[in-house]
C-alpha cells in the first residue's frame, strides 16, 4: 500500500512544465504525424510513460472524466497517482470519457465505445492517449490532411496493428470522431480526426 508521500512526484514547476508540455501537444495536433518531444519530467507511476504522465498533469482535472484500460486500471499506484495529482474522476463508462488512457494497445476496445461527439458538438469526444512501442522505427505510414504540407511519413511500431484501419471511422463520421495521441516515452504524435492514411509499406 503506497502512501501519498511515496507516490511519484508531479511536475517540479507546475506552471512552466504544463505550458511546455501543452505546446508540444499543440504542435503535434497542428502537425499530424510529426514527432514532438515532451521535455519536462514528472514522476511516472508504474507502466505510465513520461509523455503520458506529463500530458495527464497538463490536461486532466476535475472537469475531465477518464477511462483507463485494464493495464492502467489494474495498477492501484497509477490510479492513486492520477487521483492525487489531477483529481480527474475515473469512469467505468468509456462513452462519457474526455480522455482514455491505453496502456495495452492490443486490447484497445472498438473506437465506437468512446465518445464520438455529436453533429452539433463534435468537440465532446474522447481523446485517446495510446502508449506505443516506438514512434521512430517500424512500419511507415503515409499521412495526409490539414496540418500536413502535402504528405508526411510516420514510422511507428503501434499496437493495435490495425489502428489506422479502425480510424477510417473518422472519415465516415466527420466532424464527429476520435482524436488519438500516440506516446512512446517522451515522443508524442497526434492523429486528429482529419488525418487520412494514404498508403503504407510493410
Amino acid at each position: 500500500m503506497t502512501t501519498i508521500a511515496e507516490l511519484p512526484p508531479g511536475f517540479a514547476d507546475k506552471v512552466l512544465s504544463a505550458q511546455s508540455t501543452f505546446r508540444s501537444v499543440m504542435d503535434a495536433m497542428a502537425r499530424p504525424g510529426s514527432v514532438q518531444r515532451i521535455v519536462p519530467g514528472a514522476g511516472t507511476p508504474d507502466t505510465m510513460m513520461r509523455g503520458t504522465a506529463a500530458i495527464a498533469l497538463t490536461l486532466f482535472d476535475h472537469d475531465t472524466p477518464l477511462w483507463l484500460d485494464s493495464r492502467m486500471a489494474e495498477s492501484p499506484d497509477l490510479v492513486k497517482w492520477l487521483k492525487f495529482h489531477t483529481g480527474a474522476p475515473v469512469m467505468q463508462d468509456s462513452s462519457i470519457a474526455s480522455f482514455a488512457l491505453i496502456g495495452d494497445g492490443a486490447a484497445l476496445p472498438p473506437l465506437e465505445r468512446f465518445a464520438l461527439g455529436t453533429s452539433e458538438y463534435p468537440d465532446r469526444s474522447t481523446t485517446v492517449i495510446l502508449q506505443v512501442e516506438s514512434l521512430e522505427a517500424g512500419r511507415p505510414f503515409e499521412l495526409r490532411g490539414p496540418g500536413i504540407d502535402g504528405a508526411t511519413t510516420l514510422q511507428a511500431s503501434i499496437k493495435p496493428f490495425d489502428l489506422f484501419e479502425r480510424l477510417h471511422l473518422n472519415e465516415a463520421l466527420f466532424p464527429r470522431g476520435i482524436d488519438v495521441v500516440l506516446v512512446a516515452d517522451d515522443a508524442v504524435v497526434a492523429i486528429p480526426r482529419t488525418t487520412r492514411v494514404v498508403s503504407k509499406g510493410s
Binding site: 507546475k14 506552471v15 512552466l16 504544463a18 505550458q19 511546455s20 501543452f22 505546446r23 501537444v25 499543440m26 495536433m29 497542428a30 502537425r31 497538463t58 490536461l59 486532466f60 482535472d61 472537469d63 475531465t64 474526455s98 455529436t118 453533429s119 452539433e120 458538438y121 463534435p122 468537440d123 469526444s125 481523446t127 490539414p146 496540418g147 500536413i148 504540407d149 502535402g150 466527420f174 466532424p175 482524436d179 486528429p192 480526426r193 482529419t194
Partner: protein, 294 residues
C-alpha cells in the same frame, strides 16, 4: 509581500487547462467553434479578451510576442496587450513580424509571410458567420451540423443583385477544409488568401461569445464565391505614400477638410521595414526629401 502576485501570464492553471483542451479540439476540427468558459479579463469586451485568453494559454517564457491592432503595433490596444504580457509573463516583445513566435492580431494578417515557428492568434468579436442571418444559436449550430450554408450564398447573391458585385469587404466568410464555414474575424477580405495553406497555425478567440476555433497549418481555406462572380481581394488603387508599396493593404487617411487624402500601409512593421530598406513614397518624411534635394 503585499504586491499583487499573478500567475504566469495572468490566468490561473485550471483556466489554462480548460482553454488548452478547447484549443486542441479546435485544431482537430478545423473551423468548428468550440465553446469555452471564457473568463473576465482586466480589460473590456471588445478589446481582445478572447485573443488574450488564447495567448495566455499558449505563451511560454521563451516566446517573443507581437501584438497588432488593424496592422499597427503602436495603437492603444496593441500597446496595452503587449505591456500586459510583458508584465504578467515577462516575455520579450517585438514589433518585427519575423522575430515574433506568437502574434496576436486584431483585424489584420501581417504582410510578411508567416513561418512554421509562429502562431497567429486572432481577436474575434462575433465568431458565428451566420449570426446576422439567423440569430438563434440552436439554429446556427444545426446549420453547421448539417453543413447547410445556402443562406450565406443567398446573402452574397443579394450583394450582387443590389450592387453588381459581392460588396462584403471584411469578415468575408471562408470555408475551412471543405467543411465548416467560418468567420475570419473582421479582417479585410484582402487578407483572406493569406489564410489558405498558411505554414503557421491560426487560433481564434472570442471572449464575450465564449468560442475558440482554429485553422491548422497547411489547411485549405476558400473564400465563398460564385463561378461567375469569383472572389476578388480589394485594395485601394494607389501605392503607399510612405514606402511606395503596391502590394500591401492600405489605410485611407484624410489629411484636411478639402478632400485631400493619403494612402499608407496598414501594416506599420512592413511599411517601416520597407522605408528602412530605402523605399520611398510620394509623401515620405523630410529627411528623405532633403537628401533628395541636397
Amino acid at each position: 509581500m503585499n504586491a499583487p502576485a499573478y500567475n504566469f501570464a495572468y490566468l490561473d492553471e485550471q483556466t489554462k487547462r480548460m482553454i488548452r483542451r478547447a484549443i486542441l479540439k479546435a485544431i482537430a476540427i478545423p473551423g468548428y467553434q468550440v465553446p469555452f468558459a471564457s473568463r473576465e479579463m482586466p480589460m473590456p469586451y471588445g478589446w481582445g479578451t478572447g485573443g488574450v485568453q488564447v495567448t495566455a494559454a499558449i505563451l511560454g517564457p521563451t516566446d517573443v510576442l507581437k501584438v497588432i491592432d488593424q496592422g499597427s503595433d503602436d495603437t492603444t490596444n496593441a500597446i496595452s496587450i503587449r505591456k500586459f504580457f510583458a508584465k504578467t509573463a515577462g516575455v520579450a516583445t517585438t514589433t518585427a513580424t519575423d522575430d515574433a513566435t506568437v502574434i496576436q492580431t486584431r483585424h489584420r494578417i501581417p504582410e510578411t509571410a508567416l513561418n512554421e515557428s509562429q502562431v497567429l492568434v486572432y481577436q474575434v468579436p462575433i465568431p458565428e458567420p451566420l449570426r446576422f442571418l439567423e440569430p438563434r444559436e440552436t439554429e446556427t449550430r444545426r446549420m453547421h451540423a448539417l453543413a447547410e450554408y445556402g443562406l450565406m450564398h443567398v446573402k452574397l447573391y443579394e450583394d450582387i443583385a443590389r450592387f453588381g458585385h459581392i460588396a462584403t469587404a471584411y469578415a468575408y466568410p471562408v470555408k475551412v477544409n471543405a467543411r465548416y464555414v467560418m468567420d475570419p474575424s473582421p479582417t479585410p477580405k484582402f487578407d483572406n488568401p493569406k489564410m489558405d495553406n498558411c505554414p503557421a497555425p491560426q487560433l481564434f478567440g472570442a471572449g464575450r461569445e465564449k468560442r475558440i476555433y482554429a485553422i491548422p497549418p497547411y489547411t485549405k481555406v476558400v473564400s465563398l464565391d460564385f463561378e461567375d462572380h469569383p472572389f476578388e481581394p480589394y485594395r485601394f488603387n494607389a501605392p503607399c505614400a510612405l514606402c511606395g508599396a503596391e502590394d500591401s493593404y492600405l489605410d485611407e487617411i484624410v489629411t484636411d477638410d478639402k478632400g485631400s487624402r493619403m494612402f499608407v500601409c496598414s501594416d506599420t512593421d512592413y511599411c517601416e521595414g520597407r522605408q528602412a530598406a530605402g523605399h520611398h513614397g510620394s509623401l515620405s518624411a523630410a529627411p528623405y526629401k532633403e537628401k533628395a534635394h541636397g
